[in-house]
């Protein structure tokens, strides 16, 4: 049994009066890539936001290395070593690429230490370093958003829909980057594109209508056509 890095039990989150998560449970073993699958509006993004404390859960527990995250502020949660790459990238468009990376540094030397890794994974960023983030293409912005959470020494990365709106060849290189990252980092990914997800992830969790309905090894899921059809609607 691998060491569990993130353990969520019976998570209930409301947005306004709407009960979005109704008892989500999942666990992410250290050193794995776990993908959250499910239809639009199932609650995948809200699960990530609940972990970060951005939409604080009303009940349930979230444990990171055994430590409860409930009630902590987003910046305190991030400082425990969790990097969040939100949907639609959310890079700072007015800041240069370098400033986008600098802002993420928690110690002075963080950026210098991580530069080699970042430019090795995303060589494009090196030549774009002085451009404003808003001038980058969608794929480059996604690379920057991932690079940004690699600056401090995060151990868990939460990545929301990295392939959204990108061309297949760019998705391919992003996925390759995430695969390489997983040698050192644990990844919890949200991915709509099942083909992409199935090639990348070790484990899966299916979220449906605010519940976690199935989980296990990806190698088992790809053979379970009935389960895929039922919850993901892809043949």
């Amino acid at each position: 049994m691998q060491n569990t890095m993130l353990e969520i039990t019976d998570l209930n989150t409301f947005i306004g009066q709407f009960h979005i998560l109704e008892g989500v449970a999942l666990s992410v073993p250290a050193g794995s890539i776990t993908v959250m699958l499910g239809r639009n509006g199932a609650g995948k993004t809200t699960t990530l936001r609940s972990i970060m404390g951005l939409t604080p859960p009303r009940s349930g527990t979230i444990r990171f290395h055994g430590q409860a995250l409930n009630g902590k502020t987003p910046h305190a949660i991030a400082r425990l070593g969790i990097g969040y790459v939100p949907e639609h990238r959310a890079i700072f468009k007015e800041l240069t690429v370098r400033e986008n990376l600098q802002i993420s540094a928690r110690q002075k030397e963080d950026l210098a230490k991580s530069e080699t890794l970042i430019f090795d994974l995303f060589p494009d960023l090196k030549r774009l370093i002085h451009l404003p983030g808003g001038n980058l293409s969608g794929g480059q912005q996604q690379m920057l958003a991932i690079a940004r959470v690699l600056v401090p020494n995060n151990t868990l990365l939460l990545i929301d829909e990295p392939s959204e709106g990108l061309a297949p060849v760019i998705i391919e290189s992003l996925m390759e980057a995430i695969r390489r990252l997983s040698a050192e980092k644990t990844v919890l990914l949200v991915e709509q594109n099942f083909r992409v997800a199935s090639k990348l992830a070790d484990r899966y969790v299916i979220i449906d209508d605010g519940h976690s309905v199935a989980h296990g090894m990806m190698t088992d899921l790809v053979q379970d056509a009935a389960l895929i059809q039922r919850y993901l609607g892809v043949a």
């Binding site: 468009k93 001038n135 980058l136 940004r148």
Partner: protein
């Protein structure tokens, strides 16, 4: 390809922004020249007075703009902080008339003035901190309530001033060597103290701009203007940055009121006059843009001074000077609804 197009588009917009600014500046200078009846000496004094206005406006508007950009709060109390600064500096300077008497213990008027300015800055800091931490913080999920709250606080502060100092305007009477010096501009005198404020305002403008561009705090503030939630998700205590910026904004306004007191005195209409003009400045500059605020301060300051000069003519009513900022604001909003440097807000 698309990105290249976007770049070109952005550059064109930028260029047109600077063209607009240049046209406005030239038009205002011509107006100032006409207002001065073509007299070069009156014209120079008008421009210098415009610069003086610019700096005072900037001290109020910079805080207003940064606070709005970062926290989405239009701080209606900003004008009241300016006014409090003026009253405190006045009172410490004139111990025989005011409410605070310890000023009498400092015989040197120059030193007393310095103490007054520092005290104004300090009290602005304390009151700003209390407003943010004590009241606004509880309402971050309800922006409209914050607006009403800052408006309410501005009324409370105004009534507080009336209760302490009364409603009679105070005119600065203390003469001190800092104030009496003057120099000649084409044979007309201009006070060295006013020039000193212009220079200091300019230094502050550059300092804040360097802070925003060159320091880590500046990067955090600029990022926070775009997306404060993302800043917090990267591990930065964005609420603490809110408190810092808000407090500094209030302190700067109080400081502005204090240094302006020697020639504006302390009156209960100071707050609303400067608040409205500063709102005009930040909207004209483009909400949330610091460079826009700085440039709009120049434009509004110059227009204000030129109109003041123009309204010295018997056939022109004096009220035109006081409505100038709002007139400029309306004009710009008709032509460029986002202001000079406005983004997508």
């Amino acid at each position: 390809m698309q990105a290249v197009k976007n770049n070109l588009l952005a550059r064109n917009l930028r260029n047109s922004t600077w063209t607009t600014i240049a046209i406005l500046a030239v038009a205002l200078l011509i107006f100032a020249f006409v207002a001065a009846d073509g007299n070069i000496s009156t014209f120079s004094i008008t421009v210098l007075s415009g610069l003086l206005r610019t700096m005072l406006l900037f001290l109020v508007a910079a805080g207003l703009s940064l606070i709005f950009g970062l926290m989405d709060i239009l701080n209606f109390a900003q004008g009241a902080y300016f006014m409090i600064g003026a009253y405190i500096a006045y009172d410490i300077q004139h111990p025989e008339r005011g409410f605070i008497t310890f000023g009498a213990a400092i015989p040197d008027p120059n030193l007393r003035f310095l103490v007054g300015v520092i005290a104004a800055f300090g009290i602005g800091t304390i009151l700003g901190f209390i407003l943010e931490r004590g009241l606004l913080r509880r309402l971050y999920d309800r922006p409209l309530f914050q607006l009403v709250l800052t408006f309410g606080v501005s009324i409370i502060l105004l009534e507080g001033i009336k209760a302490i100092w009364g409603t009679t305007p105070y005119t600065w009477t203390e003469t001190m060597s800092l104030m009496t010096g003057s120099f000649q501009v084409f044979e007309q005198p201009f006070s060295i103290y006013r020039l000193f404020i212009i220079v200091m305002g300019f230094i502050l403008m550059v300092a804040v701009s360097l802070l925003l561009q060159r320091t880590r705090l500046g990067i955090i503030i600029r990022a926070g203007v775009e997306d404060p939630e993302m800043v917090s998700a990267l591990g930065i205590n964005v609420r603490a940055v809110f408190t810092l910026v808000f407090t500094l904004g209030c302190a700067l306004a109080a400081f502005g009121g204090a240094i302006a007191a020697p020639f504006q005195g302390a009156t209960i209409s100071l707050g609303s006059t400067f608040l409205l003009a500063s709102i005009a400045v930040i909207v004209l500059g483009g909400l949330g843009s610091f460079e826009g605020t700085a440039i709009a301060s120049f434009l509004v300051g110059l227009a204000w001074a030129a109109m003041e000069q123009f309204s010295t003519r018997p056939e022109v009513a004096t009220f035109w000077a006081s409505v100038t900022p709002m007139l400029m604001l309306s004009l710009i909003l008709l032509l460029r609804p986002r202001g000079l440097f406005g983004g997508e807000r």
